[in-house]
Subunit: 211 residues, 2 copies
C-alpha cells in the first residue's frame, strides 16, 4: 500500500479544531455525527458574531475568536491560529465555512491535516459563492467536495465528492440547501475515515481503504 | 415560457450531420437509438481512416471526408464543412469525437444547432483527454456533458449532464469506458428532446420541457 496516513502516530481520539466564519451548519453536522475516534476540541472563528460559536458553546466545546484586524499581516494572523490550535492540543483541523485563505505559515504546521468542504465538484467553481457560480453557468450537475487544503483555492487532494442535481428553477440558495445535505454527510464521514486510519495520500490521489 | 427553441420551424425529421474524427462510438449510439424525429443524413470526417465512416456506410448513411491540409485556413476548412452539410440538407450537427475547434464561420451558420458530448462535467476538464485530466486531478466524481457548441472549448450552454464515479484504480481508459455508457445514453436523448421541440435556450441556461 503506497501513500501517507496523514494522522499516523497521533493519539485517539483525534482532537479536532473547527474553523468557522458563519452559522456553522457543517460544525453542527460534525457535532451531531459524534464521529468515532474524533472529539471536537475547539471552535475558532474570525468573527465574534459567528453562529458557529453559539453552537459550540451549546455543545460544551471550547471557543476562541481571533480577529484579523488585530494582526499586522495574514501571516501574523495565521501564526496566532496555529498557536491557538496548539494550545488546545488539536491534531486535525476542519474548515467549516471559514472564509479566509490560509498561508503556508498555517498549512506547513498542519500539512494534510486540514480538511475543507466546498459546495461544488472541484475543480469546478472554486472560491466564493460556488452554488451561485453553478447556477450562473447553467450546469445540470454540481455537488460537494471534501478535500485536504493546500495553498490554492479549493485545489487540494480530494477525499470525497458527491453529485447533486441542479433544478431548472434553482436559485443559489435552493441549490445550496440541496448541496448542504451532502456536505453534512461527507464531512463527518471523511473525518471518521481519517480517525480510523483508512486514508492514504499519494500526491494528489487520496484512497479510502475498506473497513 | 422564455427561451429560444433552436429548431423551431425546421421540418421533421431533423436531418442530422455527425462530425467525427475517431472510431465513432457516439455515432453508433445515435444510429442504434433510432432517435424519434431525427434522421442521420451525413457523417463527415476530417480523417479518411476514421472508423465512424465505416459505421456510417454499414448503416447506409452518406459519408464525406474533408482533410484540413487541403484548405488554406481553419476558416476555409469550416466554410467547406458548412457547404457540405448544406449540400446534404442537414439542420442539426452533432460532434461525436470531432477533434477540431470550430470557428465562427461554422458556428454562425449553425447557431444553437451544434451539439457536442464532452467526457467530463463541464466546466471541469475542458479540451483533450478529459478522463486523463480527471484521473490526474484525483477527482472522485466526473461524468459527461451534452452542450451546445460555442467558440470556447467545451464552454457552451449545457443541455444535460450525468455523473460517473471514479474508482481508485481507474486509468484514463477504464474511466472513459464508464463515462461512455452515459455519453451513449445522453447524446441520443438530447437529440430526441430537440426534435420533440422540448428544448429552450435562454443565454447560458437550457431547459428541457416535460413531455
Amino acid at each position: 500500500m503506497t501513500g501517507v496516513d496523514p494522522v499516523a502516530g497521533l493519539p485517539r481520539p483525534l482532537r479536532l479544531g473547527v474553523l468557522a466564519s458563519g452559522s456553522g451548519s457543517n460544525l453542527q453536522a460534525v457535532l451531531d455525527a459524534a464521529v468515532p475516534g474524533v472529539v471536537p476540541a475547539l471552535v475558532l472563528s474570525d468573527k465574534p458574531a459567528a453562529g458557529a460559536l453559539e453552537r459550540a458553546r451549546r455543545a460544551g466545546v471550547a471557543t476562541e475568536v481571533l480577529r484579523p484586524r488585530d494582526f499586522a499581516s495574514r501571516e501574523a494572523f495565521d501564526a496566532a491560529l496555529v498557536e491557538t490550535l496548539r494550545r488546545h492540543d488539536t491534531h486535525l483541523v476542519a474548515l467549516a465555512g471559514f472564509m479566509r485563505l490560509l498561508t503556508p505559515v498555517f498549512l506547513d504546521e498542519f500539512r494534510l491535516r486540514v480538511v475543507n468542504v466546498h459546495p461544488a465538484l472541484c475543480p469546478s467553481f472554486p472560491g466564493l459563492n460556488a452554488p451561485a457560480q453553478a447556477v450562473g453557468w447553467g450546469v445540470k450537475v454540481t455537488g460537494c467536495t471534501v478535500h485536504f487544503v493546500d495553498a490554492g483555492v479549493d485545489t487540494g487532494p480530494i477525499i470525497a465528492q458527491a453529485a447533486v442535481p441542479v433544478a431548472d428553477d434553482d436559485t443559489a440558495d435552493t441549490l445550496h440547501d440541496r448541496i448542504r445535505v451532502e456536505e453534512h454527510r461527507l464531512l463527518p464521514a471523511a473525518l471518521g475515515w481519517l480517525a480510523a486510519g483508512r486514508v492514504r495520500v499519494d500526491g494528489r490521489h487520496v484512497r479510502v481503504l475498506p473497513e
